[in-house]
Symmetry: C2
Subunit: 214 residues, 2 copies
C-alpha cells in the first residue's frame, strides 16, 4: 500500500518529491536518528517542509506513517534478498556476506541513515525487525545447507548453531556499528575495513583460530 515512494533523484532535489514521499523519506531519517518516540510530528512536518495536518491526511496517524515506512523498506529488503539468492547460484558464504554489504552501502548512498534505520528496526523488536532477522538467517542457513550437501561442513559441526553463529558475526557490525566506529575509527563497511573483516570472517568460519599443524 505504501510502495509508491519514488526514489530520490541523485542530486539534492528533494523538493521535487511530492509531500507524501518527502514525508516518508524524512520520517525514515528522523526515526533512524532519534527513534520513533524521539521525533514529533511537528519535527517531521518541518523537516519535510510541509504542514502537520498532511501527515494525518496521508497516513491517518503518526503510527500509520511508521507502518508505511516499515512496509516500504520491508518490501525493498525482500526484493534485495530474492535478487541475491537468484544471483548467488554459487553456494558460497563469502558472496552472501559481500552481497549483504554491497546492498547496505548502495542503499546508504541513496537513503542516508538507512543502515541506522535497519539497526533500529532489529533492536526495537518491531514486527518487521523480526522478519528481517529471519530472512537474514534463512539466507545464511540455505547456503550452509548447500555446502553441507557437498560435504564441505565438518561432520561434528552443530547444524543448529552454525548458521546462527555466522549470522551473529554478519549482523554484529550492523548492530554495533556506532561502538565499532568509536573503537576502530572506521565503519566496518568502509572499503578498506571490509576487506579485512571479510577475510577474517571467512578464515575463522572455515578454519578457526587454532594453529594448523600440517
Amino acid at each position: 500500500m505504501a510502495d509508491t515512494m519514488a526514489k530520490p533523484a541523485k542530486k539534492s532535489s528533494r523538493s521535487s518529491l511530492k509531500g507524501r514521499d518527502r514525508l516518508m523519506l524524512v520520517a525514515m531519517q528522523l526515526f533512524a536518528e532519534r527513534g520513533f518516540d524521539g521525533v514529533t510530528v511537528r519535527d517531521i512536518a518541518k523537516a519535510a517542509d510541509v504542514s502537520v495536518g498532511l501527515i494525518n491526511h496521508h497516513f491517518e496517524s503518526k503510527e500509520g506513517l511508521r507502518a508505511a515506512v516499515d512496509a516500504h523498506f520491508l518490501a525493498e529488503t525482500s526484493k534485495a534478498i530474492v535478487r541475491a539468492s537468484r544471483r548467488l547460484a554459487v553456494d558460497d558464504l563469502e558472496s552472501v556476506a559481500d552481497y549483504h554489504r554491497t546492498w547496505i552501502r548502495e542503499y546508504e548512498a541513496e537513503w542516508p541513515s538507512f543502515a541506522a534505520y535497519l539497526r533500529r528496526a532489529i533492536t526495537e523488536n518491531s514486527e518487521w525487525g523480526e522478519n528481517l532477522f529471519r530472512e537474514y538467517y534463512d539466507s545464511v542457513s540455505r547456503m550452509i545447507t548447500r555446502s553441507d550437501a557437498d560435504g564441505k561442513i565438518a561432520e561434528d559441526a552443530d547444524r543448529l548453531w552454525l548458521p546462527l553463529l555466522y549470522a551473529f558475526m554478519l549482523v554484529g557490525p550492523l548492530l554495533l556499528d556506532p561502538y565499532i566506529r568509536n573503537m576502530l575509527g572506521k565503519s566496518t563497511y568502509d572499503p578498506e575495513m571490509w576487506g579485512r573483516f571479510q577475510k577474517a570472517l571467512r578464515q575463522l568460519f572455515w578454519f578457526g583460530a587454532a594453529p594448523r599443524d600440517s
Copy 2:
C-alpha cells in the same frame, strides 16, 4: 551516588524496600520492558506503590532516575567483570563465556528482566552501553592475547577482528534473544541450550566449520 540500592530479599518482599530502592527496581524493569520513553513517571510511581512526587524528591527528574539506575548497574557490571578476571586465572575463552552466562542467569533470578535492560542499554547507544560493550570486548581481548602468547592462535589470524568476532558471537544471544527464543523455543541461557551453544561456539572458534582431514 546511587549505590545504596539494597538487593531485594529472596521472596517477594518488595514492600520491605524503601521508596527510593523500590523506585529504582521498578524503573529498571519498566525501562527494560518498554523503553525509557514508553514509561511515564505515573506508571513507575504506581508500580512502586508510591506517589509521583517522590521521584523528583529523590532523583530530581525522570532523567535523573534513569541515570541512577544506569550508574547502579554499570557499577555492578564492573564489579562482576573484575571478579571474573580474578577468578579466571586460567586463560581460556570457554570460562569467559561461561562466566558471562552464569552472571546473567544469577542476575536474572534476582532482578527479573535484567538481561532485557542490558540489551536495551547496549542498543540504545546510552553512554553506559558503550562502556559495557567495551568491557565485554576487553575481557575477550585479554584472553585471546594470552592464548596468543602461548602460541595457541594461528599465525595468520587477524588480531584485530578475532576478538571482535568472538564478542559478536557472545553478545549475539543477548541482543537477539527475543528472536532466538521465537525460533528455537528456548532462550540461549537455558541450561540445555547453553551446553550446546557453548560447545558449538568453542568448536567453531578454534577449528572452524570445514571438515578436518587428518
